[in-house]
């Protein structure tokens, strides 16, 4: 039997008049990584909170490991781990004490608790800081501790809500490696992110959340294919050559100031060869040629109707 690790149908949630989730459908196969991608305020955290039994949905159904999040929250809780967007550590304890607390609450027994905690401290590079108060931890260290606490009992489904938001590039890559290791061990991961790059790096499937609905769902490649092909950009030495080429390739867009032509392409080699053959036959020299394939940024902004935010996404990350 292949029950999906996460199965969501028509999930709805509003706060007063504000509709946050408006019929979200999502299926995550066991052992895979799905990225829930969406701009700030899209409802990613709300979705994760419903799936981890912190919030009750207004409507729809959600199953985690086959357990209904509303009717059997206890069953759900046995198999999940959540590392939220906001740190969920006990700031008055040390890193080691935090991990031991989790081990006790997961009933690992005294001996296994100790070995598991030592293991995690090692794995997450927290050995030196283990006995220090959390006030002395950097953001990256706190995040790692947070995740280590989630992993004490090796849950089968893990929710990571913006796991790398606010981290420096190095810590971000460490976090990515950790996620990859988890998946290699067979854990199902649902991670939310505002970073397209992150979704592209980690996810088997990407679900784009916008306006309370999943507006696209598929592998990164499938999503990229949603946009009609890329284009070929040809630059010429002078206006005469540009004019001639423009007449030759009638389906091209002309950029007079840049002395360039843009020819749309399906991304395959065929179009490129045809274009070059025709230019060659006419004896036209191409100064410069570049091929553009659509990236996830294009897809994301096309789907969510927001443009020119690719630079803003990173810096907005620290808001809730």
């Amino acid at each position: 039997m292949n029950t999906p690790a996460i199965e969501v149908h028509g999930l709805r949630k509003s706060y007063g008049d504000k509709i946050v989730l408006d019929g979200v459908n999502l299926t995550v196969a066991a052992g895979t990584v799905t990225a829930l991608l969406g701009p700030n305020g899209a409802g990613k955290t709300t979705t994760v909170h419903i799936l981890s039994t912190l919030l009750r949905p207004d409507g729809g159904t959600a199953f985690v490991n086959g357990c209904d999040v509303v009717r059997d929250p206890g069953g759900v809780r046995l198999g999940i781990g959540l590392t939220g967007q906001f740190s969920a550590v006990d700031k008055l304890l040390t890193g080691e004490e935090n991990l031991l607390l989790m081990a006790r609450l997961r009933h690992l027994g005294a001996k296994r608790s100790k070995t598991r905690v030592a293991e995690l401290l090692e794995q997450f590079d927290l050995v030196e800081a283990a006995r220090k108060p959390l006030a002395t931890y950097s953001g990256g260290m706190q995040r790692r501790l947070d995740l280590a606490m989630t992993l004490v009992a090796t849950p089968s489904v893990i929710f990571l809500d913006e796991p790398t938001t606010g981290l420096d590039p190095r810590s971000r890559h460490t976090m990515w490696d950790i996620v990859r290791d988890l998946v290699a061990e067979g854990t199902t991961v649902l991670l939310t992110t505002q970073h397209l790059e992150e979704a592209d790096e980690l996810a088997d499937r990407i679900a784009v959340l916008d306006g309370g609905r999943i507006v696209a769902d598929g592998t990164p490649d499938e999503l990229k294919r949603l946009l009609p092909g890329g284009h070929i950009r040809l630059r010429f030495a002078d206006t005469a050559a540009l004019d001639a080429a423009s007449r030759l390739l009638d389906e091209s867009a002309r950029d007079s100031t840049g002395l360039a032509l843009t020819v749309s392409s399906d991304g395959g080699v065929g179009t490129l060869r045809t274009v070059l053959d025709r230019l060659d036959a006419a004896g036209l020299e191409v100064e410069d040629l570049s091929i553009h394939t659509p990236d996830l940024d294009d897809v994301f902004f096309a789907l969510t109707g927001k443009k020119d935010q690719s630079d803003g996404v990173d810096t907005k990350g620290t808001e809730s």
Binding site: L54, G74, L78, G84, A88, L92, L101, L105
Partner: protein
């Protein structure tokens, strides 16, 4: 399919029940560790009653004591110290409810509480950790305040049995009042509310027989003073430590403890689940 689900559900339920005690102990350890690491709040709950004690005994005690029925005006201060001590002990317990409320209110805003709620830990265990931790704190506070009382001349006439009974009653009251403190902490949206709400509790010993006999109060207040829970608490402790007539007070006091504990338990359990994550 259904049977499999049913079996797993039953298994889940059994394992959850058997863990309530273990989880309560874990949560208690966590709260005690907090107290040991950051004793500031606990010190405060002891300092308050000690200041009140010294103030009422040395500043007001001479006059107040002389006004007590059947007291020789010359020995007023000593007589008042004896009279007021049970009330001070109850104020100490009520004061720790403030500490519990603040601790709980702060804890509820912490991400760690959200984490607990995503784990298969019973809410009873989380709450019990707070309540028992606070009860222990209250007992230590009462012992210290009593110690100061003895230092400034409080001389109880109790025999060992009566000491034991007083100790038992104080544990019971501290436990019951802790539940109310925890519930108030859960109820409060902010830490400020949490520190203010339990002040009502600290007033109750003064609006009972803690500082002056209820007979000396105006009719309406007197009626309230006679029927509120802190009066039987105070009268029981007074009777046990100093040999004044006990009457039905111990029974009434124990009854009130049960009522208060059950109410606080139901109240905080109800809020814990409803409480939003942020």
């Amino acid at each position: 399919m259904t049977t499999v689900t049913d079996q797993r559900l039953t298994a889940t339920r059994i394992s959850r029940q058997s863990h309530v005690v273990a989880d309560s102990i874990t949560m208690l350890r966590r709260n005690l560790l907090h107290i040991v690491r950051y004793p500031g709040l606990s010190m405060f709950t002891i300092l308050g009653p000690v200041v009140i004690l010294l103030l009422v005994v040395f500043v007001f005690g001479g006059t107040l004591g002389a006004g007590l029925p059947g007291v020789d005006p010359a020995g007023g201060r000593g007589a008042y110290l004896a009279y007021v001590m049970p009330g001070i002990l109850l104020i100490t317990i009520a004061g720790t409810a403030s500490g519990a409320a603040i601790t709980v209110a702060m804890d509820m805003t912490e991400g760690i509480t959200a984490r607990f709620r995503t784990m298969a830990i019973s809410r009873a265990a989380v709450l019990a950790g707070h309540v028992i931790g606070n009860t222990i704190q209250a007992i230590i506070a009462v012992a210290l305040v009593l110690g100061v009382g003895l230092l400034v001349g409080f001389r109880p006439t109790a025999r060992p049995v009566e000491w034991l009974a007083s100790a038992g009653l104080i544990v019971l009251i501290a436990f019951a009042v802790s539940w109310i403190g925890v519930a108030m902490g859960m109820q409060s949206k902010t830490v400020e509310t949490a520190s203010n709400l339990p002040l009502i509790l600290t007033l109750l010993p003064m609006l009972g027989s803690g500082f002056v006999p209820t007979e000396s109060m105006p009719a309406g207040l007197q009626w309230f003073a006679q029927y509120q829970p802190f009066t039987p608490f105070i009268e029981s402790i007074r009777g046990l430590l100093l040999g004044t007539p006990l009457g039905w007070n111990p029974m009434l006091g124990i009854g009130w403890c049960v009522v208060i504990a059950v109410a606080g338990y139901a109240w905080s359990m109800a809020i814990y689940e409803r409480k939003s994550v942020r």
